[in-house]
Amino acid sequence: MSSPLEKKILIIGYGNTLRGDDGIGQIIAEKIEKLNFKDIDILALHQLTPDIAGKIIEYKVVFFIDASQNTELNEVQVLSLEPSESSPKIEHAMSPEDILKLAEELYNFYPKSFCVLVPARNFSFSENLSDLTKSMIQPAIKIITEKIKNFN
């Protein structure tokens, strides 16, 4: 299975930056953008919508960075992603697995994908991160950049 357009890596950080830790995905994506990696595109989004399926098929590898809703998670977790097994309902906001499923169904292709889950605790109205989530920014960037090296 190869990407038709042969672009290399897409990093999508998503979440609501008005909801405290929920915005960590966007924050990390923007910090990685400033590192100016070659052949890496960055998207900072509020939420995943169906049209993202049309975007990810341009890439060989995609990383989805999100705040974990598991409040017992204490370190950054990287999971390999596969398309949803069942047909998920489409809502305004979709999961990464749903996006992969949509790409597979629409374009017969989905890129190798990873979900980077960042520990999070505070989802109330705030533009500030909790101390825990703030402390996970550098570890998350390090883990992602190490992973990226494997694909460059």
Binding site: N16, T17, L18, R19, D22, I42, L43, A44, L45, H46, Q47, T49, P50, D51, A53, G54, K55, S86, S87, P88, K89, I90, E91, H92, A93, K101, L102, E105, L106, Y107, F123, F125
Partner: protein
Amino acid sequence: MKQIVIDPVTRVEGHAKITILIDDSGHVSDARFHVTEFRGFEKFCEGRPFREMPGITARICGICPVSHLLASSKAGDKILAVSIPPAAIKLRRLMNLGQIVQSHALSFFHLSAPDLILGMDSDPSKRNVFGLIKADPELARKGIRLRQFGQEIIEHLGGKKIHPAWSIPGGVRNGLSEESKKQIIDKIPEAKQTAKLALELFKKLLPNFQREIQIFGNFPSLFMGMVGEDGLWEHYDGKIRFVDSMGNIIADELDPANYKEYIGEAVESWSYLKFPYYLPMGYPEGIYRVGPLARLNVCEKMGTPEADKELLEFKEIANGDRAVSSSFYYHWARLIEIIASLERIEELLSDPDISSKKLRANAGVNSIVGTAASEAPRGTLFHDYQVDENGLIQKVNLIIATGQNNIAMNRTIEQIARHFIHLHGTKIPEGMLNRVEAGIRAYDPCLSCSTHAFGKMPLEITLVDKNGNVIDKKSR
């Protein structure tokens, strides 16, 4: 008294549940569309500089950030008390049209088309966009591309991020490059073709939905929307008009800044979503609807050739003189608005003003009040700010499109439930569940905007008697 609870409503942005109250004789006595997330956004904004408000409010929602961006910038223009440059107005208009295209495309192709194309009674596990892909893969791909087209316009103007703080009090930060202009123009023919294809398909499917037309919010109400000069369809800056179901204009030329003179906001203990109503008629008699159906009902012409042809045909539903009353027709109105938006985008891009470098008027705080509105995809959006002499926000009130359809959504659920409970007794028939959800989806509510909620959950329906005992339960 028995209760039927549908919790939550799927394919609706945000988080909500529905309770249908059944009296002892087995009839529907009331229906309630509960919105359960607490709204605290206005409080959160207090103390912030008003110039930050477009960037902050645009982050309320991932689907319609541009609506908040524009309404907020316009409220900021009022605080500066300036007239902004013509190019800035036209560029803001361009972005709003891109937003209408992308939001309506998402609503039609991905959220509602499965109901329309696969049928309301088709297998719920297949009645989704994946079922749609199997039935018509090319239509699904075209829908994705149409939404991308609208998104790209927003990105060309505001940059890659979905929440661009591009429009600001006094104007806009950047113009449109010639390269961007060309890229948008090149994609217009395909976008138009897709919109027309969807519209023709919808019209072909209409005979299959006679029952839904009758029971999806088919009742008299007022309709509210902006209009331009001579009743022209307006999406960015116009006067407010109310019409009744008979098509009579009952209020016109209303200044959005004076919304408190004609819009009241009622509160019910069972919902965090307020219930706006037309103040002179009181609550709940002052029920009005906003959004695509309302905009087409209040306007006399779209102002572009293809959309005007479609508007004439649309108005024939109600003999050309009355308002189109069934909320099922929101879908049709949405598709006509996509066509109108595409035609207006084309016009704007050929306007030499749009390339002007004069994009911003500079001023300080000249008024401590700034109130403005624009038309969001789901209806009229009001932003009302009070600031101190330093421009720090003292008070915020947002009147959101989805909230203004709140009374109508409740009545729609009640109408659908009455129809089915009458036929099937107090069990929850699958057909009712499907239609209650689809009836709500016709309004394309955005609960993120109306309550600033987030999250999604699986579907669960519970039938509860007056003592709280569960007597029937369904989940998907």
